[in-house]
């Protein structure tokens, strides 16, 4: 871990301003991913701005009937929130399927959106990795890639996005609300928030330097059966091989988002459109353009089978 200076921010605007003015500054909230990476010098901020005391920990109903979730709401609290449990159960389910109780007690809503990949070549600083060190190459391509992405990948990077929460947020069409160092506010649709690697895999989000996430806003609840199914190598405390967030509406339509397979939380309109046709059609649409390796090719079948399972359960409910 490189040395850094530390400050505890007292206002959102102040935090954003400080971040914009100090080169190498980073915000720290839960810290569960940032400190992990700082210890390995994958992240090397020179200045940490502790945003934990900015009061961004409220969950409020919006005038539009949606939900505004403060960026600092802890994963545990978001999953346990009564409105979330009632109206956005898929989000609750996604949250509690991630990490561990201890990590969820620290991890925040904003921080989770910024969670970085679990690619083992990203994590080993002696290995080539275009995401960590632009231009160094991709160790994962041609290497061990069982856990890595099959959608949205490029010749430069096949890293997967590891978040569960973000998959549910993607399903729910969340907006990411921010403030920048000049005090300008904007809302970024989650579809645009995470970037595909292309030939710049080190650029992961639409955030500008110094821009801070203040909240995540959900539109009005989507009615139907909310499910989040995560398939992994052990029963708990593991990253997804494949996860599927879904809402099955009473009229037979459905919407889907996927984790574990994409360079970012994955959702395609064609998969939603195929909802009435069943698992196979949804899988086919979702997997269009998939690019696999010999290690992660199974994820295609696993996506389909996870959908088969969800449809089977849905039929059993009906």
């Amino acid at each position: 871990m490189r040395p850094f200076t530390y400050e505890r921010a007292t206002s959102v605007e102040g935090a954003a301003k400080a971040a914009a003015s100090v080169q190498g500054a980073r915000f720290i909230a839960g810290g569960t991913n940032l400190l992990d990476l700082m210890k390995l010098q994958i992240e090397t901020p020179t200045h940490l701005i502790d945003v934990n005391h900015l009061g961004l920990d409220r969950i409020e109903i919006t005038p539009e009937g949606g939900l505004r979730i403060g960026a600092l709401v802890r994963n545990t609290d978001l999953a346990a929130d009564k409105a979330v449990r009632r109206d956005y159960a898929v989000l609750s389910r996604a949250l509690v399927s991630g990490a561990s109780g201890q990590l969820r007690n620290k991890a925040t809503t904003g921080g989770n959106l910024l969670q970085r990949t679990r690619c083992p070549y990203f994590y080993d600083t002696r290995m080539p990795c275009n995401k960590r060190q632009p231009g160094s190459g991709c160790g994962a391509i041609g290497g061990i890639s069982r856990g890595l992405a099959i959608l949205g990948v490029s010749d430069a990077c096949i890293a997967q996005h590891p978040s569960d929460m973000a998959v549910a947020m993607r399903l729910l069409d969340a907006q990411v609300d921010t403030v920048d160092g000049a005090g300008a506010r904007r809302s970024i649709p989650i579809a645009d928030f995470h970037l595909l690697p292309g030939d710049t895999p080190h650029k992961e989000t639409a955030l500008k330097p110094g821009e801070i996430i203040t909240s995540v806003t959900l539109p009005k609840p989507v009615s139907g059966t909310h499910v989040y199914r995560k398939v992994r190598d052990r029963a708990s405390y593991a990253f997804a091989l494949v996860s599927v967030a879904a809402i099955f509406a009473k009229d037979g339509t459905a919407r889907f988002a996927f984790g574990g397979i994409g360079a970012k939380p994955w959702r395609v309109a064609a998969a939603d459109a195929a909802g009435k046709q069943g698992a196979k059609a949804v899988a086919e649409a979702a997997l269009a353009g998939a690019r696999t390796t010999e290690h992660n090719d199974f994820k295609k079948a696993l996506v389909q089978q996870t959908l088969v399972s969800l449809y089977r359960q849905q039929e059993a409910r009906a």
Binding site: F4, T76, G101, Q102, L103, S236, Y237
Partner: protein, 210 residues
């Protein structure tokens, strides 16, 4: 949660403030002056650890785990992976269990920390500690303090109605073996005393089988 004390101290920190602060007063370091490597400005941190207020001068890079182990000599909290992958470092901060390895001590300035040493001592065991002995809920003992801190917090979480991955109905949280196993999964025990740990927790929760 944030007290006046914290608000008062919620200001820019850095070399200037460190220079103005007094020497460390923790028992572990009472005999030595605040250590200050050249080039790394120390930051004052006040914690209430197991009910006792402690004052530290820390390199801002110091994790809460290392502050406990290396500075306060509270070595009951263990370092198994230092990356949030094992749970051996679990402590209870402001009533919640967290991995003390993945948080900086300075981020907890003004907060209250309970470690395994604060739950009980060999002469005055916490009920969960006693139950771990009775049910042989450990072998090598290295993950044990983290398991026990987690176990204590898990029973509270269930009481508070916090749902888990295996909660059948998100609005009806109840104690069950499956709930305990899922919630304890962030505490790895390679010796694998798992069923014994669950038995200890059920015992404490008053759910032990007759």
């Amino acid at each position: 949660m944030p007290s006046d004390h914290v608000t008062r101290r919620g200001i820019l920190r850095g070399a200037a403030l460190a220079a103005a602060a007094g020497p460390a007063l923790s028992p572990a370091h009472a005999a030595e002056p605040a250590k200050a490597s050249k080039g790394t400005p120390m930051t004052p941190v006040e914690l209430t650890v197991n009910g006792r207020e402690v004052h530290l001068q820390l390199d801002p890079r110091t994790s809460l785990l290392d502050a406990l182990r290396e500075h306060l000599h509270l070595t009951g909290t263990k370092k198994g992976c230092d990356h949030g992958q094992c749970g051996a470092c679990t402590v209870i901060v402001e009533g919640r269990r967290i991995n003390s390895c993945l948080t900086l001590a300075v981020m907890h300035d003004g907060e209250s920390v309970t470690t395994i040493e604060g739950l009980g001592t060999p002469d005055r065991l916490h009920p969960m500690q006693k139950a771990f002995i009775v049910h042989d809920g450990y072998q090598c003992g290295y993950c044990t303090p983290g398991q026990i801190c987690s176990a204590v917090a898990v029973l509270d979480e269930i009481k508070a109605g916090v749902p888990s991955h295996v909660t059948p109905d998100l609005d009806e949280v109840a104690l069950s073996d499956a709930e305990l196993r899922e919630r304890m999964s962030g505490n790895i025990c390679r010796c694998a005393a798992y069923p014994n740990i669950i038995a200890a927790m059920k015992d404490v929760a008053g759910e032990a089988k007759a």
